[in-house]
């Protein structure tokens, strides 16, 4: 009976993932401005989610091993780390490809890139450590301690990495409904950062109901700059013309104008902003998350069983010799 159910579950995961891939390429609409490159999000975000989930699962089973001393818990911890490593690599590679296509840069050390890089290093260190310890019992125990200890330090990255650079290429506001980018408030002559671009508000011009802002945008590294002129309609209370940042597909928008104080709110708009509101994209995205999570659970189960069997065989061979 259990076998039957697990067989069914395996088939279901296969069909489910096939459906997600089908929907990813054929059903969801193109991201406005991103072209077909935008479709990679359906793969990229779930793999990143699973790589973090796997890290937590590995730490959990490490703790269980230290508590109950059951080798099967350690097998699960190792299996979770191995799957997690695989998914971390996938998330890194898909992210870098997307970043190159859309923003013209493979790697930028933005907060999430930093954290995922550290995660890769931790997984690698975990495997290196286990490989360097021979007695099985000791390997399991020290590996479990390392996994738990690493789990304590990682949350600090979440607070610290965003301070590393003022830049992030991850447009939270674009893909997750409910979250928002606030942009920055500037008055004439002041400078600020939007993403990794330094911007300076040069002047505000009013023509009837239309406010035009002259904004100087400097490239990262201040190698070159350009002047963009986003506009805002006082009558309608919304931004009108949103020029593109030079060489990238983000747009600069004038979101609010306060004529009494002379302050304006400038923000970056990512292509695809609001596409998750589109139900087809949203459901495909969620289905992909669920599919990758199920895939992870299945891989975890398979790999840990395999590890358990191979230890048993090794033990038996050792006993025969």
């Amino acid at each position: 009976m259990v076998r039957r159910i697990s067989q069914m579950a395996k088939l279901l995961i296969g069909v489910w993932m096939a459906g997600v891939i089908f929907a990813m390429f054929l059903i969801i609409p193109q991201y406005e401005g991103l072209g077909d490159a935008g479709r990679i999000i359906i793969m990229h975000v779930p793999t990143a989610w699973v790589s973090v989930l796997a890290f937590a699962v590995s730490a959990f089973y490490s703790g269980m091993y230290l508590w109950r001393r059951r080798p099967s818990d350690d097998d699960r911890a190792v299996a979770a780390a191995e799957c997690g490593f695989l998914f971390t690599v996938l998330a890194t590679v898909t992210g870098a490809i997307f970043s190159q296509v859309v923003w013209g840069i493979y790697w930028n050390w933005d907060p999430r890139q930093t954290s995922i890089f550290v995660l890769l290093l931790i997984y690698a260190a975990f495997f290196a450590l286990r490989a360097a310890i021979d007695p099985m019992e000791r390997r399991r125990r020290l590996g479990a301690v390392y996994s738990l200890f690493a789990f304590v330090t990682v949350p600090f990255l979440v607070f610290i990495a965003p301070r590393l650079a003022d830049s992030t290429l991850h447009p939270n506001c674009a893909f997750l409904p409910g979250s928002q980018c606030d942009g920055i408030v500037l008055s004439e002559g002041r400078i600020g950062l939007l993403g990794d671009r330094k911007i300076r508000l040069l002047a505000l011009n009013q023509q009837g109901d239309i406010i035009t802002a002259a904004v100087e945008v400097s490239e990262p590294g201040l190698t070159s700059s350009a002047i963009l002129e986003p506009t805002f309609s006082l009558a309608e209370g919304r931004s009108l013309d949103e020029p593109h940042f030079p060489a990238v597909r983000f747009r600069l928008a004038l979101e609010q104008v306060d004529l009494t104080t002379g302050n304006v709110r400038l923000n970056m708009h990512a292509p695809g902003t609001g596409t998750i509101d589109n139900p087809r994209t949203f459901f495909t995205f969620m289905a992909s998350n669920l599919g990758f999570t199920m895939l992870f659970v299945w891989m975890l189960q398979m790999r840990s069983t395999l590890l358990g069997v191979s230890w048993k065989l090794e033990e038996r061979e050792g006993a025969l010799i």
């Binding site: 260190a125 310890i133 301690v145 390392y146 738990l148 690493a150 330090t153 600090f156 990495a161």
Partner: protein, 232 residues
């Protein structure tokens, strides 16, 4: 806990004194660390003489990053010594019988901290002399050095105990420690750059808070986990 606290602390203190005495006899870790720091400072000073003459935000970051690179790798050379030596001279078993695990941990932690503070003094003096680093807020600089060193010790002491039981000890120590040390290193490098620039205390407070919370978190986790390592 089977041992009352005063006994635990006196046991920890004896472990610390024992380590200090045996280190002063051989000076293995101390020499390795100090020579490493000295050669880094001299190499930086020879290779990048312009660093001492410029004073802008980027130079401050460069100076503080170089200082912490020297400190980090010197520390990774020396901090595993106290546990590795116990395994190499086969005294670990005796130590297991003589003192409770927590006392061993606390003693070694204190020893590593003292070692690292000595390294801090020498390395920063070398940087001030050779690289001509000018420190404008000395109090903040010293506090950040101490806090950063505290983070390095609380995070690496238990790792040293782990790798002492493995093969390829010294190479493994760096591999295992580096990813866990990334968060405090990022913070302390930024904070030290502020101190070099002469920023007021209020600006460095956030850095100090983060460093201290990291130190507390790793210290508590080590206390909980050390027993498993020591008995493995």
């Amino acid at each position: 806990m089977p041992f009352p606290l005063p006994m635990l602390f006196s046991a920890a203190w004896s472990v610390f004194v024992k380590d200090l005495l045996s280190e002063l006899r051989t000076r293995y870790a101390l020499n390795a660390m100090l020579l490493f720091a000295a050669s880094t400072a001299v190499a930086v000073s020879l290779g990048a003489q312009f660093l001492g003459t410029r004073r802008d935000d980027e130079t401050f970051l460069l100076q503080s990053a170089l200082l912490w690179i020297a400190l980090l790798f010197a520390a990774l050379n020396g901090l595993s010594r106290s546990f590795v030596q116990e395994e190499e001279t086969r005294t670990a078993l005796a130590l297991r019988l003589a003192a409770p695990p927590i006392a061993v941990y606390l003693g070694k932690l204190l020893f590593n901290l003292v070692l690292l503070l000595m390294l801090d003094v020498v390395t920063s003096l070398l940087f001030i002399i050779f690289v001509r680093v000018q420190v404008d807020n000395i109090g903040l600089f010293i506090t950040l050095l101490a806090a950063g060193s505290l983070c390095l010790t609380t995070a690496t002491t238990i790792l040293a105990a782990i790798i002492a039981r493995a093969s390829f000890k010294s190479a493994l120590f760096a591999v295992v420690a580096f990813p866990l040390l990334m968060p405090p290193l990022i913070i302390v490098i930024q904070g030290t750059a502020l101190a070099l620039a002469g920023a007021p205390w209020a600006d460095g407070l956030m850095h100090l808070r983060t460093l201290l919370s990291y130190a507390v978190a790793t210290f508590v986790a080590s206390l909980l986990l050390f027993g498993f390592v020591w008995e493995a």
